[in-house]
């Protein structure tokens, strides 16, 4: 089909389902993400709360009295359909991309006011408290498809939008506006050794991710807040589902 004069690109709603029964908390997602997205290593003086991390892994322990088991919960940006961060940014550095559903964080537009970080209930955003620096020589190995951010700006997971752009360019070279889904897989999904993360287009009802998202074992973090994340979690364990969809404050 020839593109029309006013071509309207097909809508996607990219999302992921993370199987908590598979996650072992090895951290491969965090490391692969940092390599892919030019996330700087934490400087000596940083703490667990001042480094930059796009996908954090937290441990959630069985809250029941005799519970000894844990699940490890990778938390990337939840890519909300109603993102609390987007409406608070004073200068439109955060944008919900209507064509992909990705919540974009444009670091070069960012003022560094951190209102979006205060607004995000998932703590999925990081501020560059330090000047991003790489040890000797490794700066040459940075990914050319993702720009390095500046000190004093906020950043977060973009579902590896650099890979989406590369896939689009590749498709365009072949004369197509639609990418091959195999060309667009975020780094964490690719790196997970236990294949805990399934990624795809939630809008496409035949996709694996849409099928998993419909299953009763899948749930969202803090669904009552109305943020409608596109990152879902799943577990066969009822305690995992029950305890992760309730805010912590409700337990006191």
């Amino acid at each position: 089909m020839e593109p029309t004069a006013n071509p309207r690109e097909r809508r996607h709603r990219y999302g992921m389902v993370i199987d908590l029964d598979r996650c072992t908390g090895c951290g491969a997602c965090t490391v692969a993400c940092s390599v892919e997205n030019n996330v700087p290593p934490p400087p000596e003086r940083s703490t667990e709360r001042t480094g930059v991390v796009w996908i954090r892994v937290s441990e959630a322990q069985d809250p029941r009295p005799a519970g000894a088991r844990s699940v490890f919960v990778p938390v990337p940006c939840q890519q909300c359909d109603d993102p609390p961060c987007e409406k608070v940014c004073p200068q439109r550095a955060v944008e919900l991309d209507p064509k992909t559903g990705i919540v974009a964080q444009v670091a070069v537009r960012c003022l560094g006011c951190r209102y979006c970080m205060a607004a995000c209930p998932y703590h999925a955003r990081s501020f560059n408290w330090f000047r991003p620096e790489w040890p000797d020589g490794t700066a040459a190995l940075l990914n050319p498809d993702v720009s390095v951010r500046q000190r004093g700006t906020v950043e977060k997971c973009s579902f590896c939008a650099g890979r989406l752009q590369a896939a689009k360019a590749k498709a365009a070279a072949a004369g197509s506006r639609e990418i091959d889904p195999a060309d667009y897989v975020p780094a964490c999904v690719e790196a997970c050794p236990s294949r805990a993360i399934v990624f795809g287009d939630l809008e496409d009802p035949s996709s694996e991710v849409a099928r998993l998202a419909r299953e009763s074992e899948s749930f969202r973090l803090l669904p009552a807040l109305g943020t409608r994340p596109k990152v879902l979690y799943r577990s066969v364990e009822p305690w995992v589902r029950a305890s992760l969809s309730q805010p912590e404050v409700s337990r006191g």
């Binding site: 959630a60 938390v75 951190r114 501020f127 408290w129 004093g152 807040l225 409700s250």
Partner: protein, 410 residues
Amino acid sequence: MDEPLIARGLRRTTLPRFLLWLAPWAALLALGAWAIFLCFAEGLNQTNMDNRFAFGLWIYLDLTVIALGAGAFFTGFLLYVLKRKELRAVVNSAVVLGFLCYSGAILILMVDVGQPLRAWFTFWHPNVHSMLTEVTFCLTCYLLVLAIEYAPVVLRSRKLRDLLSLLVLEHQLHKVMAVFAAVGTFLSFFHQGSLGGLYGVMNGHPFSYRASLGIWPSTFFLFILSAAAAGPSFVLLTTWVVSKLSRKELVKPEVLRFLGKVSGWLLLVYVGAKGVDSLVWLNATSPRAGVSPASFYAYPSFGTWILFLEVVVLGLVPALLLVSERARARTGLLVLASALACCGVALNRFVQTIQTQALPTLPFDAFLSYSPSWQETAAFLFVVAYGVLVYSISFRYLVLFPEERELAKG
């Protein structure tokens, strides 16, 4: 030595004593300037804020001083729009206070953001849905209005008076002051409200999220009310403090009582509204977000006592004292009540800023803590020192309290 600069008819202490008074504040200012320089040069890693505690002492300071600085807009509103002439006695002081609070807030905001050189993006690429955009626009415009309101006070100083053309300008400015007062009131309403909305719109934090009335969350209106209530109290309080420090009668007691009365009635309305709002929030808004209201106060640092302290001890009590004519008649009680009212607003801003972020939301989060670094504290003190210095100099050389001359004569 500097007598020629001091306004006619005012008696001021000797220059060395004045400089002695300024010295410690100047030292504090220098320390703060060093801290601010560190923050610009090294980055915000100089603070103890972090990714979970993204707002800290500075945002709290901003909210508080802007609430206290509301005295400027509300006094101006009462004087120029509602024609309460007796407030002419404090309006200059209120304007200077307002100017100091707002400029201090904007200054600290510029330190607080990671990329101050991009601050103009908010004007170029505004997100009209953001409360912060509203705050930025109104703050900047209102600071301009305050500067214009401050100008006549400065222009009337002894040296500048000599330049004829400037005096004409001052006279012209004075004629349109009512317009500026009205514009200032309008702008103030919006940014005080948007500052409240800042937290009220955060649907990610059930503790601060409030159901909206129209397009604004209820905190929008609560902030306007509380700022309007605290502003006159703060003017009252500073006037009393300056009077004590300078050992001079600056205004007639009726002016202070009037300010107290205004503050008291507004505070009473605010406490009522706050009570209704809290009930709605605890019984409807937060359960809808999946949170039982009691859990907000289940953490040791912030028990229900903080709610009681904010609403009753620092809200209802000063409100009742200030509306009571008998209590107002006693200066001690009047000053105490207005101090309580100011503390109440400060505590409300603290709860909004700090408690909101400290309470965990994610199921695997813990209660978060934060204590400011010395750089943050020093930058905070910079604003305080800046305020004291500029106010002291203004008080010495400008006419902040027009009644002072008559009272001194009388």
